[in-house]
Symmetry: C2
DNA sequence: TGTACATCAGTGAACGCGCGTTCACTGATGTAC
DNA sequence: TGTACATCAGTGAACGCGCGTTCACTGATGTAC
């Protein structure tokens, strides 16, 4: 059981180390630290303290503090994807294709914004500066329950837009960068930046206007 | 001479401490550190080292490391404003009002993006998370040469859009949040985020498409 | 079924690092007489 | 014009902190015979 996913799924082949799921416990402690304080709060010693082990015990499971942080980042991205999926799941499935496609793009966007507001620390961790390019591994998946990561979920929603004839196919390439930028920018300004006090209360409304802009502008 | 602006402007009244412009030297060292390494690189001891003074000498001019960082942030914001102004200055002044207004908004946006790419460290410092809300002081102005800070420059450009009849007045309130979000998001994704290698080369093109989207969507 | 052994997860102690910040000081300057 | 003095920018030394990381170890477990 060294992955944070379904404990009973892994067969006896090569998994299940001695007696510890220490890796899992450390990762969860790291996630909790990130939730509360963002990437800088992911401190190796504090994670081991919470796990009740000696500081150096972590080195049996992570190459160092950075490896732990990367695993936490992957988990945070996975949580972003889950938030998007949750938003998508609220859509009435019997919508006409064009409306469903538009609503899907909006749902992806508002899931993203909702996550940034509700899970600020994890959001900041997911998109923190890093020397290494984050990528999914078996140990550290970045996808949500549905198997797609945030970027892929957005891409899929945009594909629906094209399939439904709402967006001309020639505009499709690169469109995720534009949509993502808009939503990411608002999230960052509210979460980290100077807009928090200004926008905070009107967030829902501003978010919807931003999504209007993206919809029209794409 | 304890402000970084025109040394000869201040009269003899209450200015000019003993023999040091140490405050200025420390601030400039801090800016240089931020340029190279972003907000975390603004380290009090390193600034004093570069200034050739003892570490605690800084406390004559800044309340502590955070005060130095805030001063550096203000300078970074001022530099953003300057970049926007530089972009605005390239516009042909004899454009019809509607075109000039549109071009102004674009210029503000591309100045912002250009600055983020060219002065990544300062950009990250300007918009870094901070407990204190940054605000201009006499000691630490956030405006560019023209006297407006980045947010005000954007606001002024949008006002032109309304004055020229390009944007309906009822859409004006809050429009800076939408425009800023879009541009800020792209900047952050390229500067900090996972999009750097993906977008890097096509940055100019993606930036223009983003500004198209904003123009249409507003 | 019982025993010896290899494995390796977790221990205990220690390291060097660089940071921000404090204290009591010193000594060059500007000013009052 | 000369002298005593107050000011206060910068000094020197030290502090406690928490971090990531290393070393040689110990002792519970699974496995081979």
């Amino acid at each position: 059981m060294n992955t944070p996913t379904a404990p009973s799924a892994a067969p006896a082949v090569r998994s299940t180390y001695r007696h510890g799921d220490l890796r899992r416990v450390l990762l969860e402690a790291g996630i909790e630290l990130a939730r509360k304080g963002g990437p800088d709060a992911v401190v190796l010693r504090e994670a081991t303290r919470r796990a009740g082990v000696a500081p150096n015990a972590a080195y049996r499971h992570f190459a160092g503090r950075d490896a732990l942080l990367q695993a936490v980042r992957a988990a945070a991205l996975s949580a972003v994807a889950a938030a998007m999926e949750a938003e998508l799941a609220t859509l009435p499935p019997d919508l006409p294709p064009a409306d469903l496609a538009r609503a899907s793009v909006r749902a992806v966007g508002s899931g993203y914004l909702r996550f940034a507001l509700l899970e600020t620390g994890l959001f900041r961790t997911a998109f923190a500066r890093s020397d290494v390019l984050i990528q999914a591994t078996h140990e550290a998946p970045t996808a949500g329950p549905g198997g797609l990561n945030p970027f892929e979920l957005l891409g899929a929603a945009l594909d629906k837009l094209v399939a439904a004839g709402v967006m001309p196919p020639e505009r499709r390439p690169g469109a995720e960068f534009l949509a993502w930028s808009a939503v990411h920018g608002l999230a960052m300004l509210v979460v980290d930046g100077p807009l928090a006090p200004v926008i905070g209360p009107q967030m829902e409304q501003v978010g919807q206007r931003l999504l209007d802009m993206v919809e029209k502008g794409l």
